[in-house]
Structure formats: C-alpha cells, structure tokens
C-alpha cells in the first residue's frame, strides 16, 4: 500500500523517490533491530532488588570487622571506612 504524508491535515502521497528512500530506511532499521540482543528481564529485576552499592559496601565492612585476618588483609579499605565511623559516631 502506498504511503502518504499528513501535512497540515492534507494527505500527500509519497513520490516514487520517497517510497524508495523510506523502503531503504525501514530495511536499515530492521537490520539494526535484528542485531540488538534484548536485555533479559532478570537483569532489570536483579538490579532493582539488590541493596544499594553503599549498603553492600557497609555489609562488606561489617563482615571484615568480624574477622581479624580480613581486617589485616583489607587494611586500607577497613581503616578508611572505620575512620569515618569514628569521626561521626552513632548518636554522636
């Protein structure tokens, strides 16, 4: 079926040149779409369900805080976070 423009409410048929150009645009679009790998739903579902990055790091810090060996192993990370907690104590 021939395409048409709606210009200011007036229906204007495509010229042969416009038809050919639009055919090429649509073919290019279809090829591009075919190459897209859809993101699986679980990626979005997991991203929405994970704790915030800050909360994850806090959990990690508390795990390290429970283990002397890990405190030594991750000393820089552990001390950097701890110094902030000391500077701004709970109920401080």
């Amino acid at each position: 079926m021939a395409r048409h423009h709606n210009i200011n409410g007036v229906q204007v048929p495509f010229t042969a040149e416009e038809e050919a150009q639009r055919d090429a645009e649509e073919a290019a679009w279809a090829a591009k779409q075919a190459a897209i790998i859809p993101t699986p739903a679980h990626v979005y579902q997991r991203a929405s369900a994970y704790p915030s990055i800050g909360d994850q790091l806090d959990m990690l810090w508390h795990s390290i805080d429970q283990n002397t060996e890990l405190k030594s192993k991750y000393f820089t990370f552990y001390e950097a976070i701890k110094s902030v907690k000391v500077k701004y104590p709970k109920n401080g």
Binding site: I7, Q33, A41
Partner: protein
C-alpha cells in the same frame, strides 16, 4: 495590613469579579490525526498552521500515538526551508527514561547513549513502542522561539508509553543547531506508519 480571606460563602455571594489583564493564553492552532500515516507534519503558512514569530513558544500534544510496527521509535525532525521542506535540520539531543514493570518486579532509571543524537536528524522522542491494541504513547513537546535568527532552537519533551507490560517515561530534549528560523516540524516512526492517534499544536502567548 489587613488580610482578606476568601471562603465558600464569599464565592457563592459574589455577583461580579474584577478583570485581570495580561494573563496570556494557550491558543489552539491545529490537530493532525494519524490514519496509517507515514508522517505528521506541521508547516507554517498553510491550512491554518502558524509556526513563526507569532508565538515565542509552541506546544505539541501527543494523544495515544499507536504505531503499525512493534518496536518502532517516534522520531522528531525540523525544517528551515520555506518551500521544499526537507526535514533535515541538525539536532543535538539527550534522552533518558524511567520505567516500571506492571508486575512490580523491576524499575529502572536509564540513560542510553544510543538514544541521544549528536549533530544528526531523526531524534528519538521515545524508545520502542509496541503495537498491541491497547499500546500507545501520550505526552507533549515544547518548541521554544522557532523564529529566532540569533539562537539555536530548544525543545523539551515528556512522554509516557506502554511497552509490553512496562510503563516508560521518556525525557527528551535538545536543540536544532541552527540560527535559521524553523518553519516546520515532522513526526514519524522509525519504521512503519502511525496507525492512529493525534498531535495538536498550540501557541503560547
């Protein structure tokens, strides 16, 4: 200084109101209805369409735009030609979106670089629309001062659409990178026709 309070009784008993001048207005200009249309275009100077320095701001409203082809984007273009109206004015745009699944299983705020345009045409107002019978896009786009011959022409769009059990809100904005006056704008799908829906044009005075 005394404070005058307005209450229901006061409004009920009022018989006349003073006049307020210079409020401005939103003037309806044109409604285009899609019917298996490849493009919907508003071009200044014909069939009652005004898109010149009459108004400093123009509002386009999208009402239930429904594509023929699933996955097609809604595109936006402009022309600065007075006669040939090739819709090829270069734009630079940004586009980000928020969405939420109907089953509440995920919600995302997302900037996709593939959705923006750097000195190109055919800018995306939306991501892919679905062509399910109940799927559509609604929203609006504002074009500022299209007749300026000093500045680039800014536009801002906010639309919402249903994409396969997902509600998506797209924020799209940018400018026509030209100091020539914009004499028309065109809306089309990236592929296929606009089966249904309408776009209205208003001038903001």
């Amino acid at each position: 200084m005394s404070i005058v309070k307005l209450n229901n009784q006061g409004v009920k008993n009022a018989t006349a109101f003073g006049s307020i001048s210079s409020l401005g207005s939103m003037v309806f200009i044109k409604k285009l209805t899609a019917s298996s249309s490849a493009t919907l275009s508003f071009v200044d100077g014909a069939n009652g369409v005004v898109l010149d320095d009459t108004y400093k701001e123009y509002l386009f409203t999208f009402n239930n735009i429904h594509p023929a082809t699933s996955g097609a984007y809604l595109y936006f273009n402009g022309t600065d030609d007075d006669s040939s109206h090739s819709f090829d004015v270069v734009q630079t745009t940004t586009h980000f979106r928020a969405y939420n699944f109907e089953d509440d299983s995920a919600r995302i705020l997302q900037y996709l670089s593939s959705f923006d345009t750097a000195q190109g045409t055919d800018s995306r107002i939306s991501s892919g629309l679905h062509n399910d019978n109940d799927s559509s896009l609604s929203g609006y786009l504002t074009l500022f001062n299209p007749s300026s011959t000093t500045f680039v022409k800014h536009f801002i769009s906010n639309t919402n659409y249903e994409q396969g059990a997902v509600s998506i809100n797209s924020k799209f904005a940018g400018y026509f990178n030209t100091t020539a006056d914009i004499t028309g704008v065109q809306f089309k799908m990236s592929s296929g026709n606009m089966d249904a829906g309408d776009i209205c044009l208003y001038g903001i005075a």
